[in-house]
């Protein structure tokens, strides 16, 4: 990890500390993702507890009706969670309950419309109150809305924006400089989802570019599904994000905790 960490908010400080701890143990930070309210509102807490046992950081998704950056796995999970009654405010309540039991940093993944609907200031207030450390905003390029990042900072939250293999050097610079939590590098041109084979060919070049500008740790996600893909990513990244694989496991009634243990082991440098 080359970045010099200057935390701007309490959330950012906690996120950076989690990366630093993993780094000290010779690992990339392990960042599992789960859709709030999946597989059911009740079962979610148990699944999240299992993930938190192994996670350096937990990413919780607000279920959204039109998640256009997501593939079928997360999309279906969102539909199911929404059908089960999980809401934006409900998600923040679920996080608040997790926060009471765990010290591990928790970041929220959300599309922008739920933020606008609740009202950016009110949303940030609720997130801060729930103990959220940061936000990941997959459909908000940082130059679209500067107010969101400012409001997040005002409420102690860190923000994470994304880069992709198609990002030009100028875009990478702009996005990297806007991130206060960690920088999220999308491994492939595509939506979320576990893929056949490994398609991480574009990651090293992208990360080299990102590190020129990022003052925060750089994590890689999309398509990481097992210990093997995690190991490949861990060689170059500060953190590894895994989402659809856990949703698939939860759907099939497999042990989410066991999968998390395996993938975490794969995050060894």
């Amino acid at each position: 990890m080359t970045a010099t960490l200057t935390a701007t908010t309490p959330g950012a400080a906690r996120i950076h500390a989690a990366f630093a701890r993993a780094h000290a143990e010779g690992r990339a930070a392990f960042i599992p993702f789960m859709t709030a309210g999946y597989p059911t509102a009740q079962a979610f807490a148990g699944v999240a507890d299992e993930l938190l046992e192994h996670a350096d950081l937990l990413e919780v998704g607000i279920p959204y009706s039109d998640p256009l950056g997501d593939g079928p796995t997360i999309q279906r999970a969102s539909e199911q969670a929404l059908a089960g009654g999980t809401s934006t405010r409900g998600t923040l309540a679920l996080v608040k309950a997790l926060r009471a039991r765990h010290a591990t940093p928790i970041v929220i993944m959300t599309y922008v419309n739920p933020i606008y609907a609740v009202g950016p200031r009110e949303f940030m207030r609720l997130a801060q109150d729930a103990g959220v450390d940061g936000l990941i905003l997959p459909d908000l390029p940082p130059d679209q809305d500067l107010e969101i990042a400012d409001l997040a900072a005002e409420h102690g939250l860190a923000v994470t924006f994304l880069i992709a293999p198609t990002s030009t050097p100028a875009r990478v610079k702009l996005v990297a400089e806007a991130c206060t939590g960690f920088l999220y590098a999308v491994s492939v041109t595509g939506v979320t989802g576990a893929r056949e084979g490994s398609a991480l060919a574009e990651v090293p070049a992208m990360l080299a570019l990102a590190r020129e500008h990022a003052r925060v740790p750089v994590a890689v996600g999309f398509g990481v599904k097992d210990a093997d893909t995690a190991r490949q990513v861990a060689q170059v990244a500060d953190g590894v994000v895994v989402g659809s694989a856990f949703i698939n496991a939860a759907r099939q009634g497999q042990s989410v905790g066991a999968l998390a243990a395996t993938i975490r082991a794969g995050c060894q440098k």
Binding site: D66, G69, Y111, L140, P141, Q144, V191
Partner: protein
């Protein structure tokens, strides 16, 4: 050179129409949108591009479409003269072809061999498949399962034209979900795929580019109205609004005139079973500001930001949002947006058919309804121009089904005319 594309003062350089519009998309697409914007910027003044587009619009599409005085409809309304801008005369049956040919030419210029499109009523899908066949491009069209049922004829036309139609079963299985899938495809295949977006929605530069390509409708109206009435500007212009492309195409050439020269412009939104019923697609009347498909706009979404499934009798209006430029027009009063119900549209469809021998698309029938209402309240020397965005061939099976339902309903008050209230009884 015969054709030039208009320039308008909106959007700003960030793709904003006031607070509306923008680019709320995954970062993966931002470079592609920049590339598209650049390609469009050079193409829009390139004589080679404009001449080819002009040739195709003239000889392939059959432009200009006529501005037709609907005498019997005028008489029925009992007021101002009602003119129909006959986009239903276009090859493939609707205004969508204007935009599709232009975008497909742009795709070809950019060296993209594969095009994708979303479609609701199927008209944009057919137009995209047609343009792709003409220019030798591979074409994939995303369409909701519900719309595939409602628009079987158009599905077959697309396949006949060589396009692949991908059924979308996520969400509500209609246009918004087909749009989501098209965007997901584009995110995945962005390096070699051109997304032919079908309305004035989506991330910048789409709303501006689609508007420019559709503005030919309003530009022709100016010339035709001048020839017929001795003045360029009609008193009233009415157009239906799904995403809003046919409406912006006829509005935009008038929208930036000084206020006292501007016609009254009315967009008809699909009110479905009534705005108060909750089963509608009226984004201005029944929505609130939100973000969908990359743009901020009036949107049917609940107080937690979840998109509310829209409903309309017409697949082409069955969209939960409305293009950002319309949102600005609505907010500033440049145009007014009025709800028209399913029943009113079905009634207007029959009215126009019986009186003028023109079967309109169900979408366009929404505009006909409002035009008759307003013309009746205007003096005879004034004019109302209705954008007849498409013809009804695609809808006849669905209309037959709806009217059959009505036949089995109790007594009709006017012989031979089925009262739409009964259709929904």
């Amino acid at each position: 050179m015969a054709l030039s594309l208009p320039t308008y003062p909106q959007p700003d350089e960030r793709g904003r129409y006031g607070r509306f519009g923008g680019r709320y998309v995954p970062e993966t697409l931002i470079p592609a949108l920049d590339e598209l914007q650049q390609a469009y910027h050079t193409a829009r003044t390139d004589p080679a591009f404009l001449n080819e587009l002009d040739r195709l619009l003239r000889d392939f599409v059959g432009r200009p479409s006529s501005l037709y005085l609907a005498e019997r409809l005028t008489e029925h309304a009992g007021g101002a003269k009602i003119y129909l801008k006959r986009e239903d005369q276009n090859y493939t049956g609707a205004h969508k072809i204007n935009n599709c040919l232009a975008q497909a030419l742009l795709a070809k210029r950019m060296g993209k061999q594969r095009v994708i499109a979303e479609t609701g009523a199927g008209q944009h899908g057919v137009a995209s498949a047609t343009a792709a066949a003409l220019l030798g491009l591979d074409c994939v069209v995303y369409m909701g399962a519900e719309d595939i049922r409602r628009q079987a004829l158009n599905v077959f036309r697309m396949k006949l034209l060589g396009a692949e139609v991908r059924e979308v079963t996520s969400g509500t299985s209609t246009l918004k979900d087909a749009t989501n899938e098209a965007i997901r495809d584009w995110v995945t295949n962005v390096r070699d795929t051109f997304y032919i977006l079908g309305s004035v929605v989506g991330p910048h530069p789409y709303p501006a580019m689609v508007r420019d390509f559709q503005s030919i409708i309003g530009e022709e109206v100016k010339v035709q109205h001048q020839a017929l009435e001795g003045r360029e500007v009609p008193d009233v212009i009415v157009a239906c609004v799904g995403g809003g492309s046919n409406a912006i195409g006829i509005f935009a050439p008038f929208a930036y005139l000084p206020e006292h020269e501007r016609p009254l412009m009315i967009g008809t939104e699909a009110a479905g079973e009534g705005v108060e019923s909750g089963r509608h697609a009226a984004s201005v009347a029944g929505g609130r500001i939100g973000v969908l498909h990359g743009a901020m706009m009036y949107l049917l979404n609940d107080d937690e930001g979840q998109i509310v499934p829209p409903h309309s009798i017409s697949a082409g209006l069955d969209y939960p949002g409305i293009g950002p430029e319309h949102c600005l027009y609505a907010e500033t009063g440049v145009a007014q947006y009025v709800p028209v119900t399913d029943a009113q549209a079905l009634d207007a469809l029959q009215l126009l058919t019986r009186l003028e021998g023109i079967i309109p698309a169900l979408e366009s029938a929404h505009a006909i309804h409002a035009a008759v209402e307003i013309a009746g309240r205007m003096p005879p020397e004034q004019t109302v121009v209705v954008n007849l965005s498409g013809r009804g061939d695609k809808d006849v099976a669905e209309v037959m089904r709806l009217l059959d339902l009505a036949q089995t309903a109790p007594a009709q008050d006017a012989p031979g005319v089925i009262r739409p209230q009964e259709v929904h009884a």
